[in-house]
Symmetry: C2
DNA sequence: CGGCATCCGTGACGATACTG
DNA sequence: CAGTATCGTCACGGATGCCG
């Protein structure tokens, strides 16, 4: 009958961090979460944006994540008859873990190896913690030579580790948003330094390395017009 | 000559989170960091507090961490001629990652399996984020039936993900501190609920589930005497 | 074409034994 | 005490095949 559930490997420690690592400590799992934080994605898109993962491991991880309540499969209504994977609230709650990792790992981006894959929206996580508070929920397009992505800011300051930021929708996404409140134009290295924290938005604007477009209060706040 | 360095496996992605996982994503690494956040430890002590890790994996991880600048080996002066492992500043910078993981994983502590190992200081990480600001640096002993540990609070509020908290010394430790500013006495389940955030210190005191001993301002702040 | 399942070679992991 | 040596097992990565 039961075809021998291989029983997920556990640290068997009564420790909150160990429990978290039991759930998401496997190779690739947190990077799949990173992709799904950009919104619902199809299997093939995930596979394309996770270069190096093998098909069976990706399928297995998605199955594990579904079994643990981190993600769900959903079938889109026709004619777009595709199945997409989507984070649950529990899965989206991993955002603070990913931002903490991104903040710690940002200095390592100083050396860009020729073998490194790159997607524009991978710049989103370090940036989320570094943008000044907009005071109001806002969607910001970020335009790099390498591509365009967008951020969804809650308005009440940078994203810290204090739980999910807003409703539960995607926190960032690939490509431009439908209706953005502001648009940032900068080069990849400026974006890297912003994410690392060695440069802030006001400095970058003053140095001519960053253009902030937009008319609303969010764009003004990003420019530093606090009055 | 060079016996072919097997070259650490990398995700090869130009992404801050992926870079961090390249460094600390291997099994056991973050739990070793958790142990070393309690201060310098000997190999045998690490092995004792990481039940399940095999000796060669532990040795290998410590070597990797040393090579990556996360930890250092240090030989204690005689007569205590033992070698201890100690986090570097870079390694200690992983505290926000571990607190984010602990916060996310805390709800999973609701079911305590009979196979789970337990060390008192494993309660420290979830607690660090949940104690009210003491206003002043303080050392707090926490007394459970299961054992005693202590926390070193910076004073400026709970530990968020905004970088290292204070100087760089241990953030918590096993057993009582030499000179504690306050002493908390509670049972394990109360400690778990505090860490989970479903209960706060003031509530626990009022419910008679937590005693806060001590005379100084830190103890008063923990009691909620904000005046 | 999207979503896997299968097969296979390699390397990482876990337990035990052993050594300076 | 602080690891190294050895070995069986399993997870991973890559390629291919199947099936709606």
């Amino acid at each position: 009958m039961s075809p021998r559930q291989p029983r997920r490997r556990s640290y068997d420690q009564y420790c909150a961090s160990a429990r978290a690592l039991d759930a998401v400590g496997d190779r690739w799992t947190l990077l799949i979460v990173r992709e799904l934080l950009a919104g619902p994605r199809r299997y093939t898109d995930l596979h394309a944006d996770l270069p190096g993962v093998s098909t069976d491991v990706l399928a297995g991880r998605l199955k594990d994540m579904e079994a643990q309540g981190l993600a769900t499969r959903r079938k889109l209504p026709p004619p777009a008859a595709a199945t997409v994977y989507e984070l649950t609230a529990r899965g989206a709650g991993l955002l603070p873990v990913l931002t903490a990792l991104a903040e710690w790992g940002a200095p390592d981006l100083a050396d860009r190896r020729p073998t490194d894959a790159l997607r524009a929206h991978w710049y989103a996580l370090p940036l989320l913690r570094r943008l000044p508070p907009t005071g109001v929920p806002a969607v910001v397009d970020v335009v790099l030579d390498e591509g365009v992505f967008h951020l969804r800011l809650a308005g009440d300051g940078p994203v810290h580790g204090d739980g999910p930021v807003h409703g539960g929708g995607p926190v960032y996404g690939d490509g431009p948003a439908e209706a953005a409140d502001a648009r940032l134009v900068l080069d990849a290295d400026t974006c890297r330094e912003l994410g690392e924290g060695t440069l802030d938005v006001a400095q970058a604007v003053r140095a001519g390395r960053l253009e902030v477009h937009g008319e609303g209060p969010a764009a003004a706040a990003l420019r530093g017009e606090t009055g």
